[in-house]
Symmetry: C2
């Protein structure tokens, strides 16, 4: 009799076809291209597998797909995925066109095959494998698939609060996950939050001749003062009063887990093109900073004349975009307010708009769900598994955790060379097959927990 692993392997080839079908459908959240079509396609894929599907909408939002597979028990495993992808630019750097998924050297190339359409399809294939092995799923499985992950999950919080009842679950698998340079599967338990601000300075009633710079400070100069005041150039410490008040430092268990993670300092510096890290941090201190420290980054500035040659203008207006990556228990609304107070205290007349805010989240390392997921991963792959207490990146994990009150762990199809968000995004076919088997096993094991 065929084992679950056999069924999972059998599902891999049709699942790969499904992934190609899904990856051929552009779904660029930043431009809106193909978003509606892709949501509909995702709905059909789940219906074809026997799920009860609801495609929800909110005004101005990308549709949200919730797909429910009934199970023998009422216990529910929730999968969080997204069907939107990053823009494919720069197009000329792709070896094959981004929306024509192509297999080369045992890898599938295409925009979104890694982040995160491959994960989505591997999970759906796992459901099909368990269905094939047992006829009926041993527990409920619900998929929550949004279409705005790549633009900050703008409406995700509202959607989740609205449909919290449908999302009730005892555990959740998050959207991403990769194999590190030593081929160890990573299980990630948290994400940072974000406070993304738009800053605007209006200095004068109109652009002035720069000779007036003798008695009037222009908007460009004032914006430079405002931005420079946010962060110490030597230590990298954020200088906004109260910014660190709610920071929860990592515990001993988290630091211990972090020490087991690979961190090739010199390779990272080489990749980033820098010769030192902020504050001269090295080794574990730099790794700890990357994962557990909040940040302050100027993402964009514009003011005055930036064309060729010289124009002697004193610009009336300057704009900037600044993101703060937050850690537990910082609150984006509060940070925005602290920044407003900071500028006011320094006499800098800067208008501050909160463009996007998410809180950080970290699932407890000691939650039994973490042991379950890591254990299944180790069994399914036969390799060591590493647990990351948090990613340095951001996602709407806090919103979902608050709605479902269940542990969340992230594990997926990706690997160290996947080039997410970049040209030639790809996954390895062997990883895809491995993940289908792993997820099938996880559904079975999850159902067995009392």
């Amino acid at each position: 009799m065929a084992t679950l692993a056999d069924h999972a392997r059998a599902q891999t080839a049709p699942a790969l076809e499904t992934l190609r079908r899904l990856a051929r459908q552009p779904s660029v959240a930043a431009t809106g291209e193909g978003i509606g079509e892709c949501a509909a396609l995702v709905g059909r894929l789940f219906e074809e597998a026997g799920a009860r599907v609801a495609v929800h909408t909110l005004p101005g939002a990308a549709p949200l797909v919730i797909a429910e597979f009934a199970g023998e028990s009422g216990r529910t495993l929730l999968f969080y995925d997204h069907y939107d992808v990053q823009p494919p630019d720069p197009l000329h750097e792709w070896t094959s066109p981004p929306f024509e998924p192509t297999v080369r050297d045992g890898r599938l190339f295409g925009r979104g095959v890694g982040d995160n359409k491959g994960d989505l399809v591997s999970r759906l294939a796992a459901v099909r494998a368990v269905q094939a092995a047992r006829g009926r799923l041993p527990c409920r499985v619900v998929f929550l698939v949004e279409g705005e992950e790549e633009i900050g999950s703008v409406h995700f919080g509202a959607y989740v609060r609205r449909h919290a009842a449908a999302l009730r679950a005892e555990g959740c698998i998050w959207e991403f996950g990769q194999r590190d340079v030593r081929e160890r599967l990573q299980v990630t338990l948290g994400v940072k939050g974000i406070c993304y601000l738009d800053l605007e300075v209006h200095a004068t009633s109109r652009d002035l001749h720069s000779s007036l710079g003798a008695i009037v400070d222009g908007a460009g100069t004032r914006m430079a003062w405002a931005l420079a005041s946010l962060k110490d150039p030597t230590t990298g410490r954020v200088l906004v009063d109260g910014f660190y008040d709610r920071v929860r430092e990592p515990g001993p268990r988290e630091l211990e887990a972090t020490r087991r993670l690979p961190f090739d300092e010199e390779e990272l510096k080489r990749q980033l093109g820098v010769d030192r890290f902020i504050g001269g941090l090295t080794g574990f201190d730099a790794h700890r900073q990357l994962l557990y420290a909040p940040t302050c980054t100027v993402c964009g500035i514009e003011s005055g004349y930036t064309g060729p040659g010289s124009k002697t203008v004193l610009p009336r207006r300057a704009r900037a975009k600044v993101d703060f990556r937050l850690v537990p228990d910082q609150d984006p609304e509060e940070i925005a307010q602290l920044v407003r107070r900071h500028f006011a205290r320094f006499g800098l007349d800067v208008s501050v708009t909160l463009l996007g805010g998410e809180r950080a989240h970290r699932t407890d390392l000691d939650d039994p769900f973490v042991a379950l997921v890591s254990g299944v991963a180790a069994e399914a792959t036969g390799r060591e598994v590493v647990v990351l207490p948090t990613s340095a990146g951001t996602g709407p994990m806090h919103d979902l955790a608050a709605a479902i009150g269940a542990p969340i762990a992230s594990i997926g199809t990706s690997y160290w060379g996947a080039r997410a968000h970049a040209p030639d995004e790809n996954i390895r076919l062997a990883d895809f097959e491995e993940t289908v088997g792993l997820m099938a096993r996880l559904i079975e094991r999850f159902a067995e927990v009392a």
Copy 2:
């Protein structure tokens, strides 16, 4: 028998037609539009008046027109003008099209009618009036007309050094001049210099995900630190070491002359849309700062993402443009070098390119030429004349003064409401006529000096 004043009046109507002809010819130095055509037209206008004309060129430069009218004596009065104009944008704010000069309410509207085609034509009309009155000019009159004044007179220094022999003169009338709010004609004796820098920061090998802001400072942040380090937000003082070392403070005669100038502080604040001046300066202190202090202004900044919404990018590159208005005896090359040293000392890796440099110049208040010009202006207008030791603006006066070794004074057709560089640029027809008479008288009187 007709007086010189009668001849000047008779020249006004044809001169106005000449000005309309010249102002209909676009000549935008920033874009190059019509520059060659306008230089040719200016040459023809001088030839029609009997001058010996040379249109000089340099590679990549707008042509320079030198027109010489022979005179009874070898003594030479030099007029410096420019045929180029500012770009006409924003077009929709013009009441009549910028290059269709139009008379309304006793004023002529059009791009360049004030700055400085009106001056050029008024001076040419004065030559014609003296010719009509006497048959032959009593002294040599040379016109030096460049086509890059509005973009920083990029090649003017090279032209002037090359043609210094043809420009030998005993006195020079500079391009601009206006009637103040009390209708007093201004005679301006100096200009500030400029050091215009392009700054560039390369932080990383490529744009990074902003989550890496925990360990790497992006180019936007670094540029903000660099720009903010240049100037004290409270006092407005430039913080570059050595910046003030060569500053020549205004003398008692200059300050005394400055006290006679109008400076309506509240009106100026209202116009500029500010509620205070740099460092809280008021009254004469603010006026003194405007005329005699060097400046530092961020004219433009660009880095990273500045489109709608949020993009979480850590930008690899940032650029900025900064202008320093200089006073005697600051040297733009030296200032650029001091700025490079300043960034190096603060560990800020900023590449600094000098895009344009001019030194400041001030003609001695006690030079007899100043008394001659002011005296003629007072006689010709019957009104009080005020002498400005310097303008707050910049021009290539130092280059010319160095080449000819003669005093320079600026006096012209403009008035307090002329809107130079802005939509609805205009001059008053009465001022134009007044200036023709004044310049004719100046040519006569200049020739009389032993």
